[in-house]
């Protein structure tokens, strides 16, 4: 019999997962099973519906189709004609492999309302599944969506994902630039931009982008490692406009990384993994 305290902690943890958008399906289902279909559901109050949606999606991820269907039927009963619930119904069809059925559902819903954003996005996700070797199909749908809904950073990131897998770097960078324009304070977009520039071979531009990220988020190992990688290439291939400046910033990056990999004074903070620490010292050319 689930205890009341495990129910309370399940409720808190699941709410945190929803807040952060974490897709930890196995944990979600395990925690949710303490609540679903039990008296503990009452303790969710109005959050019951978000919980059911979260539980249904986790169930789909783990192949528990009957459980998902059960939760979705409850949502459909409470919210008839809801696009959000229709999206779940479509996802159930997709998960079961009935792609044609999902397509029919999305097409009919869009015929009723062509601005149904939730379903437009499901249509794009379905296109990825139905055309695994031809990304031009989902890309076409997504660019069409963005023509209308251009203030959607999530959609620009999805477009960057699709282009990046091909890879088409100029298009990827363009999509990331749109996301950055919409959310200039989000360091993840800028980091991804820096990493894409590096991958595409444009080291001088990657260097500048990485420095902006390090400025924004001073304790990010990824950013400082990127600064080191770029500095190395710029100095080795004599591509730097101002090599002395690159040298100085390279030393700054080394210092920051040494700090980030040193044993903290506060023992409870946990020590860096020793194997990696040795490797990083070598990488920084501090140990020969």
């Amino acid at each position: 019999m689930p205890s009341t305290s495990s129910a309370a902690s399940a409720i808190t943890t699941l709410a945190e997962y929803r807040r952060l958008g974490l897709r930890k399906s196995a944990e979600t289902l395990a925690l949710g099973s303490v609540l679903y279909g039990t008296k503990n559901e009452k303790r969710l109050g109005d959050d019951l519906w978000s919980f059911l949606e979260q539980h249904a999606i986790a169930a789909l991820d783990l192949g528990r189709f009957e459980l998902a269907e059960d939760a979705i039927v409850r949502l459909a009963t409470r919210f008839p004609q809801s696009p959000r619930v229709s999206a779940l119904e479509g996802m159930l069809l997709e998960a079961r492999g009935d792609l044609a059925g999902a397509k029919e559902l999305y097409d009919s819903l869009l015929a009723e309302d062509e601005t149904n954003v939730t379903i437009l996005k499901r249509q794009i996700a379905l296109a990825k599944l139905m055309h695994p070797k031809d990304p031009s199909v989902p890309i076409g749908l997504l660019t069409s969506y963005l023509d209308t809904f251009y203030s959607d950073p999530e959609a620009w990131l999805e477009l960057a994902d699709l282009y990046s897998a091909l890879p088409l770097y100029p298009q990827t960078l363009f999509a990331l630039e749109e996301a950055i324009l919409l959310q200039p304070q989000n360091p993840f977009h800028l980091l991804r931009y820096a990493e894409t520039l590096y991958t595409s071979g444009d080291i001088p531009a990657a260097w500048k982008a990485y420095l902006r990220v390090a400025e924004m988020q001073g304790d990010w190992r990824r950013a400082w490692l990127g600064v080191k990688l770029c500095a190395r290439k710029l100095l080795q291939e004599s591509e730097a406009d101002r090599p002395e400046l690159v040298q100085e910033l390279d030393e700054l990056a080394t210092d920051r990384l040494l700090e980030l990999y040193s044993t903290p004074k506060d023992a409870s903070a946990g020590r860096p993994d020793e194997g990696t620490r040795k490797g990083v010292l070598k990488f920084l050319e501090v140990l020969s």
Binding site: R23, S25, D61, G97, L129, P132, S164, A165, L166, P167, R192, A194, E195, T196, Y198, T199, A206, R221, R222, L225, G226, L229, L260, Y261, G270, R271, P272, D273, G275, T276, K278, G279, V280, K282, F283
Partner: protein, 199 residues
């Protein structure tokens, strides 16, 4: 003699656990071991690298450098690469980054072929199958003449059932939490050793 790949139970378990740890992501990693004079690849261990932004190279480059140092300190080398896709149904293919790495490994293991492995999800249900297919390092197509084996595939299935994948950490996770032992994954190693002792 055509190449072959043999994975130790530890290496095989780590690869499958990495795929299980991040089921909605593409995951990749490198293989550590030796290549014999006859081209037979003996994979002693696997090091899981990324599950995020797997199409981007800078963190991959850092991870490779760190992994290569780690391998050579053990008198071993990086002998190949593995990738597992996020979709069970669409046919898996080597990503462009994977292709670039395959070319890079082919150069470093020449004249022998490196071991480029792709998860074969359809074979996961068969407990006797390693569920990994080797790709030709030039054409990147599944190689009919490069067998992949592991002495105890059932051990990996046990590890999945026991939830050991939760103990595994890759380089991406290390970048978020500097305590993560992605090079050694001693927690997984201990579990495998404990199980091997009972066989």
């Amino acid at each position: 003699m055509p190449p072959s790949t043999t994975l130790s139970p530890l290496a095989h378990t780590k690869i499958i656990l990495h795929a299980a740890r991040y089921p909605e992501h593409i995951v990749n990693g490198v293989l550590v071991g030796k290549i014999g004079q006859d081209g037979a690849v003996d994979v002693v261990d696997a090091i899981p690298l990324l599950h995020n932004w797997t199409s981007l190279s800078p963190m991959m480059e850092v991870a490779l450098e760190l992994a290569a140092s780690h391998a050579s300190a053990l008198s071993l080398a990086l002998v190949g690469y593995y990738q597992a896709d996020e979709s069970l149904s669409t046919p898996a293919a080597l990503s462009p980054t994977g292709q670039a790495l395959a070319a890079r490994f082919a150069k470093s293991t020449a004249p022998h072929n490196p071991s480029i492995l792709l998860l074969s999800p359809a074979d996961l249900a068969d407990p006797e199958s390693p569920a990994l297919v080797a790709l030709d390092s030039k054409s990147h197509a599944p190689s009919a003449s490069h067998p992949v084996s592991t002495p105890n595939p059932a051990l990996t299935r046990d590890a999945l059932r026991a939830g050991v994948h939760e103990r595994l950490g890759d380089f991406d996770e290390h970048l978020e939490d500097v305590r993560v032992d992605w090079l050694g994954n001693k927690g997984v190693g201990e579990w495998v050793k404990g199980r091997e002792a009972t066989w």
